[in-house]
């Protein structure tokens, strides 16, 4: 009973906040609603007894990824008026994409894979069951290849991101302590003999 109440409360808030992400005008509000969506879906995962994944969702997506999102959105000087125009112009394309998405979703949801009878109701695990351990076991044995591939892809992405931002900026005036130390008196100073003046 309590589980159902928790599920429905957070399922409704997930859908509501997800809708708000695409409908609110202010980009910062949209990003914050996305944070809330992640958080509520983490709680829904928690009701499925997937504690490890739920907490990791909060830790990684809410605690790190979305912080950077919000950070960037706040830094950008977004012209909201510019975002609003062109609604009618893009409407046909948008509708087409929406229809395709809707069709795909309907076909997936109504297929035999996702009917309720296809999967039996999951049996709750005993209290001492650690799904961190279970997940680790599967990840490092059965799926180790996919896991390693994902790690390599992420590494490439990191290096690519760093390479993209490592650009030379000749107009910036950096200090170079090494060359500052190497400087000799002769490089900077010229002593000029001046005869004592009679003006």
């Amino acid at each position: 009973m309590v589980e159902s109440i928790i599920f429905y409360v957070f399922a409704i808030s997930t859908v509501t906040t997800a809708t708000a992400v695409v409908t609110v005008r202010n980009p910062v509000h949209a990003a914050l609603f996305l944070v809330l969506t992640f958080f509520t879906s983490a709680i829904i995962w928690m009701t499925l007894e997937a504690e490890f994944l739920a907490i990791t969702l909060v830790l990684v997506y809410v605690g790190a990824v979305m912080v950077l999102f919000v950070f960037v959105v706040m830094m950008l000087d977004i012209n909201i008026a510019l975002l609003r125009e062109g609604f009618v112009r893009y409407l046909p394309l948008g509708l087409l994409v929406a229809l395709v998405m809707l069709g795909l979703m309907v076909s997936v949801v109504t297929s035999d894979i996702f009917v309720l009878d296809a999967a039996s109701e999951p049996v709750p695990k005993p209290a001492d069951y650690s799904n961190t351990e279970a997940l680790g076991r599967v990840l490092y044995t059965e799926h180790v290849f996919a896991f390693e591939v994902a790690a390599v892809i992420l590494l490439v992405a990191i290096i690519a991101a760093i390479a993209l931002t490592m650009r030379k900026r000749p107009q910036t005036k950096y200090q170079d302590p090494a060359s500052q130390i190497r400087v000799r008196k002769a490089d900077r100073l010229r002593i000029v003999k001046m005869p004592a003046g009679e003006d």
Partner: protein, 343 residues
Amino acid sequence: MTDFFLPLWNWLHEYVQYTLASGAKALAILLPLFIVVAYYTLAERKVIGYMQMRKGPNRVGPRGLFQPFADMFKLMVKEIIVPTNANRYLFIIAPVLTFAPAMAAWAVVPFDADLVFADINAGLLYILAMTSLGVYGVIIAGWASNSKYALLGAMRSAAQIVAYEIAMGFALVGVLMLGGSLNLGAIVNAQAGGWSEWFVIPLLPLFFVYLISGVAETNRAPFDVAEGESEIVAGFHVEYSGMAFAVFFLAEYANMILISMLCALMFLGGWLSPVPDLIGDGIGWLFLKTALFMWLYLHFRATFPRYRYDQIMRLGWKVLLPVTIVWLFVEGIAIYFEVPLFV
């Protein structure tokens, strides 16, 4: 007494009983926490005072002992000012968003072998998740204030917390490799057998990384660029007054105590006695070890100058993070070959 209350208790519905019992337990943790926070602020002013050859607050009550209450009443009766053009809702929500995770994290902290509010398997992960949520309060406060100093403070804080969270998380990976569990109680029990078994010895580099990033995570000196009163007035909470400011303050101090207690739990054996043959284990040990780190926070603030911002970033990404990765590698090899200290 029991004759009257016991039937009344049994008459209540199971869920109501559960809610009441949990609420009472939560209060039993949070009320002492608030009192410790109150006296921690006094201790801070006293310690820094004596380190700077002053006496610190000594007017309210005997030796200034009632100073925290005077401060509290002052903050409570002050007006909460919402700046013009500030985003009203987010402005009010921001202190709550800082405060709630700071309190929620205490749910899984064990105080003694059986004294824990929620003994969950993934306790360490839960604490990391909760402490990483606190940054939203800072960012939202900075943005919603509609003030350039507040926004600057929020930006600094966001980048700093994200950077140090990674080093902190990696340091904790070392702890759970040795402890073999994400449960804080199990991690403490893995350190049983006197001071030589404590994780601080095999994990000394990670201990320092954790300590440093803990100070950075709580935005305390010498990493307090988010507030930076000499540069950006008071950073993200410059526009806050009265209770709204007090809530930020409370959350910051609760987080400092939390980090200190986690240090004690994960590296210094928590409630375990350093010499089990002479003195038994007990909650007193945990409080003593926590107090040591809490005092270090104050000592840092009184003795270190503030880091420059680029130096903070360099320390986080280019020093602390590589140190943790190298030590995790060393630790992995040591555990595999069963080197004495690591098993």
